[in-house]
């Protein structure tokens, strides 16, 4: 299966992505993460209003075979949560960059994004992990 990584997104080495729109960031996990996890059965996310601290765990995604922490790619306040996904976490596999986003966050420090990976850097990283 060939996995896609949209060019307009930023990525982390822990396999989250960030889509920035003004000072609102949409956060999700990458197609690579979804593929590695396999059948996803459980998702735990913070509440609207909660603060994210970059690099800290903000939730969990669990598949039949593994449980992985979600790491905040940037700091900010949660302004929206993809609640339907909590009831049907298996839908993460269908459209991780579209309907299956996780959180929308009000970014508190835009400079943090300078450290995020570009699509090319992220692809180089996951191709290394696959090999």
């Amino acid at each position: 299966m060939s996995l896609e990584y949209p060019e307009d997104l930023k990525y982390t080495d822990s396999h989250e992505y960030i889509r920035l729109d003004g000072d609102t960031a949409t956060i999700g996990i990458t197609a690579f993460a979804v593929d590695q996890l396999g059948d996803i059965v459980f998702l735990e996310l913070p509440e609207v209003g909660d603060a994210l601290e970059r690099g800290e765990t903000f939730g969990t995604v669990e598949s039949v075979k593994a449980v992985e922490d979600l790491k905040a790619p940037l700091s900010g306040k949660v302004i929206e949560r993809n609640d339907p996904l909590l009831d049907a976490p298996e839908q993460l596999a269908d459209d991780p960059y579209g309907t299956a986003w996780l959180l929308k966050v009000e970014v508190s420090d835009g400079a943090e994004l300078d450290d995020a990976l570009s699509m090319e850097e992220y692809v180089a990283l996951v191709e290394g992990e696959e090999g």
């Binding site: 299966m1 590695q36 396999g38 059948d39 059965v41 459980f42 735990e44 969990t60 669990e62 039949v64 075979k65 449980v67 976490p89 992990e129």
Partner: protein
């Protein structure tokens, strides 16, 4: 994500799994497929039609020696007296403390030969143990030399039959035969680790590769270790090294049905089992049913009224039942069916009910 080391062994079917785009993992020193199309889909195939697993990594011994079953009887708590050639028995090797050295199947082949299929991780340990405690016995280790395939599911027998000369429908559960697979000699046993009907087939590597391809062409779904784990857990079959080990006795592990104290006057570890039978065990392996979708995984604490009383040994979200299930080792006083306990999952407590094992029965 797991990393691989160079030293991992590969089965004769390794490149066929790669060709099927299997995701590989390191398991007991082997590089094995963990999943092909997805654990849930593979699991359902075995429950509803037929799946095939490469289990060539498992240990395979041929034991030859006079009155071999009588000799083995000194090492296991299960009565082997009625074990006829052509039949098999699941049992355990015990240490002097009554702890389980390994769990495995004995395939009786006659008065002077018995075949054993043992866990991959314990192959060397078992070999050493057997040679130290048996006398005048020759042990041939076929572990690296044979392909072993498990064909499991309601359609397993009819699918495998296409490639086998002998009539498989005549073979009883736990029966086995030496026959012909794709025209070549093969060992076939009506045993498995999924809770479904099916066969385990041992053949030469090249025949194994051909059988794998033939079974897939015939509609069998290739399955990995992930589905093997969810299937065996629904059937509440213990996994060595996780649910049972050298410190667990069969009475503590819910394997009391393997212990025939009245019929077997002498075996290693017997004193401990007699004592436990008399006094009762202090801890027991139980089945737990949880609510929600949280999976209780190996080593998660089990609590009662906030106090730790045991640990999860294995857990999964049961694909067949739709709720989380687990095996746990807990204080025997709190092991009764219907008892409400709690499981701590990432810092939070969730209710869990002690339920009858197996969770799923065909």
């Amino acid at each position: 994500m797991s990393s691989m080391t160079d030293a991992l062994r590969r089965t004769p079917l390794y490149d066929l799994a790669i060709a099927q785009k299997a995701r590989m993992t390191s398991f007991s020193g082997w590089e094995m497929p963990v999943q092909f199309g997805g654990i849930t889909q593979e699991h359902q195939a075995v429950r509803q039609s037929v799946g095939v697993f490469d289990i060539s990594h498992m240990g395979k011994f041929v034991l030859r020696g006079e009155a071999i079953l009588t000799q083995l009887q000194r090492l296991v708590p299960t009565d082997l007296g009625g074990l006829q050639p052509g039949m098999a028995q699941y049992t355990v090797l015990l240490n002097p403390q009554g702890g389980i050295v390994d769990d495995f199947i004995i395939y009786a082949q006659g008065t002077d030969r018995a075949d054993l299929i043992v866990n991959a991780a314990t192959t060397e340990k078992d070999k050493t143990w057997l040679l130290a405690h048996l006398s005048g016995v020759e042990l041939e280790d076929w572990s690296g030399d044979r392909a072993l395939l498990a064909v499991q599911g309601p359609d397993a027998v009819v699918t495998l039959q296409k490639f086998v000369e002998e009539d498989l429908s005549n073979v009883p559960k736990f029966g086995h035969l030496e026959g012909h697979v794709l025209g070549k000699p093969g060992f076939m046993a009506r045993t498995g680790y999924t809770g479904e009907d099916g066969f385990e087939v041992m053949v030469e590597p090249e025949t194994g590769r051909e059988l794998w391809r033939s079974l897939l062409d015939a509609g069998a779904v290739p399955c990995g270790l992930g589905a093997r784990d969810t299937l065996r857990l629904e059937a509440a079959m213990a996994l060595y090294g996780q649910d049972i080990d050298d410190t667990t006795t069969p009475l503590e592990a819910g394997l009391g049905w393997l212990v025939h104290l009245d019929k077997v006057p002498e075996f290693i570890g017997r004193d401990v089992l007699v004592q436990q039978k008399q006094d009762g065990v202090s801890r027991r392996l139980i089945g737990l049913q949880l609510t929600g979708r949280n999976i209780a995984r190996h080593d998660y604490p089990v609590l009662h009224s906030g106090e730790p009383i045991g640990k999860i040994t294995s857990g999964t979200l049961s694909p067949t039942l739709g709720y989380p299930i687990a095996l746990a080792s807990v204080l025997a006083d709190l092991a009764k069916i219907g008892q409400i306990l709690e499981v701590e999952i990432r810092g939070k407590s969730y209710p869990a009910t002690v339920v009858k094992r197996p969770f799923y029965k065909r």
